[in-house]
Symmetry: none
Subunit: 230 residues, 2 copies
DNA sequence: TTTTTACCTTACAGATTTATAAAAAAAGGG
DNA sequence: CCCTTTTTTTATAAATCTGTAAGGTAAAAA
C-alpha cells in the first residue's frame, strides 16, 4: 500500500515529468488538470498527499488549497505547492493557509520527491505512534502485522488486515465502498464495488467469531465504519 | 534503575509540566534552565535522555545539541527537541545534528512521554550486548558464530546464520524478502527474491528438527519474522 | 402489502503466494 | 585440481487468498 498522490497541474510536460518520478519512487498518483477536478476527486481518490500548481485554469491553486482545508477531514492532508516565480513565494508564505511546503519552478524532480518524502515522514510521525493502534478491544501492531480482539489473535488475510487497519486509523468515520477500494487496492485495478462487501464479511466473521458484538457498522447507502455503536 | 532524563527548559510552567509527567512515569530527571548548566551536568548526572528546548537563554538549543554530540561518549545519547513554531521544524530537520526526535509546542504531555519511551526503547535495543542474543529458546553467540535452540547446537550455513542473527536482533518484526536480501547480502548482488525462501526453508529445517514448534512466522504478502506465534 | 433497493451470505473457480525438492552453479578447503 | 559444502535457480506441489455471481434477507419506498 504505497502512498497516493494527487497531482494538480495543467501543463502536460510538467505533469508528465512529475508522474514519471512519482512512479519511479513507488508512489501511486492521479493527475488532474484543474482545481474543480481536484476537489471532485478528493473523496474518491483518497490521496495521502497533494501536489498543487499555483497557476491553474479556473480555480486558482490558492482557492483550491482553501477549499481543501475547509473540509474537516482534510485538515491534515499534506499539500505542497508549485509556484512559477520567486515573487510569488512571499504571498504564499504569508497566506498561511496551511500549506506544508512549496517549491518554485523550474525544480529538480529529485528535490520534489525528497520534499514529498520528508513531509510524508514528518506528518505520519506526528500522527502519533503508527506501530500500535488501539481502539477499544481492537489492537493492531503494524510492524509485527498482528491484530487482536482483546487477547484473541485475529487470523486475517492481507486485504482484511489492511481494511481493519484503515478503518481503525479512522475509527468511527464512515467510508464508502469506493473510498475503501481506492485506499486499499492499488490504483487502477478494476474491482466490483460489491467485492468490498465480501471482504467486510470475512473481516466481520473473524472479528465477531464468538458471538461477540459486531463492531463494524453498516451505514445504509453510505458505507462502513469501525464503531462500537452505542 | 529507572532512566534518567535531563530537561533543559527555561520556562518554569513547561518544565513543571514535564517534571510532573516524568515523575508519574517513573523517570528520574534533572531540570536545568540553560544550556551551560545542561553541559556542565552531563558528566555528573549521566542522563539516559535529554529533552532540550530550542529557545533557551544563552547558548541556543541547537548549539547545546552540537556540543553534546561533539563529545564521543554522548554520540548516542538520545535527544528530543522542543520547538515553538512549525516554521522551525524544517530548520531542525535540515541541520541533521543527530537529533532523535522533536515535538512542537504546545504539545500533549502524554505524547512527549510516548516519544521518550519509544526512543529509549529503540536505542536501548541497539546498545545491547551484541555478542549474545537470546530470545526464548534461541541463543546466538556472534563472536563464536554459534547458534543454539535450547541445548542443541544448530548446524547452519553462513547465510542461514546471518538470517537468524538478523531476525533475532529484530525479533517479532516482519521483514520482506527484499529487506532481508538487502540486509544479508552484499550490495547490488542480483539474487532472486525467491532465494530467500530457500534459505528460510533450510533455517527452519534446522531450527525445528525434532518436531519442535516453528518459530519462523510466514506473513503472506509481507515476509517473515522470528516469532513464537501465540 | 408490494415493490424496490441495498446489503448479506455462500460457494467456487481462478489467481497468487509460499513450501519443497532437486539439480545446476559457485565457492572454499585441502 | 578435486572434493565438499554452500548457494542459487528452477520446477512443481500445496496452501491460501481473491473476485464474482447468484440467491437470500432486510430495510425503505411506493
Amino acid at each position: 500500500m504505497f502512498p497516493k498522490i494527487l497531482v494538480v497541474e495543467d501543463d502536460q510536460s510538467i505533469s508528465d515529468l512529475i508522474s514519471l518520478h512519482l512512479k519511479k519512487n513507488n508512489f501511486e498518483y492521479l493527475v488532474v488538470h484543474n482545481g474543480e477536478d481536484a476537489l471532485s476527486h478528493l473523496d474518491t481518490f483518497m490521496p495521502d498527499f497533494v501536489i498543487l500548481d499555483w497557476m491553474i485554469p479556473g480555480l486558482s491553486g490558492l482557492e483550491v488549497l482553501r477549499r481543501i482545508r475547509n473540509k474537516q477531514e482534510y485538515k491534515n492532508l499534506p499539500i505542497l505547492m508549485l509556484t512559477a516565480k520567486n515573487s510569488e513565494q512571499d504571498k504564499i508564505i504569508s497566506f498561511e493557509s496551511g500549506l506544508d511546503d512549496y517549491i518554485t519552478k523550474p525544480f529538480l524532480p529529485s528535490e520534489l520527491i525528497a520534499r514529498v518524502k520528508a513531509i510524508l515522514k514528518r506528518t505520519s510521525q506526528s500522527n502519533q505512534d503508527q506501530e500500535n493502534l488501539i481502539f477499544n478491544e481492537i489492537k493492531i501492531n503494524t510492524v509485527q502485522k498482528k491484530a487482536y480482539r482483546g487477547e484473541r489473535r485475529l487470523n486475517l488475510g492481507p486485504t482484511e488486515f489492511n481494511i481493519l487497519f484503515f478503518l481503525l486509523k479512522n475509527k468511527q468515520r464512515v467510508f464508502s465502498r469506493e473510498q475503501i477500494l481506492n485506499k486499499i487496492w492499488p490504483n487502477q485495478v478494476n474491482v466490483e464495488l460489491r467485492t468490498v462487501d465480501v471482504h467486510i464479511r470475512r473481516l466481520r466473521k473473524e472479528l465477531n467469531k464468538n458471538e461477540e458484538k459486531d463492531i463494524i457498522r453498516t451505514v445504509r447507502s453510505a458505507g462502513y465504519s469501525l464503531d462500537f455503536d452505542e
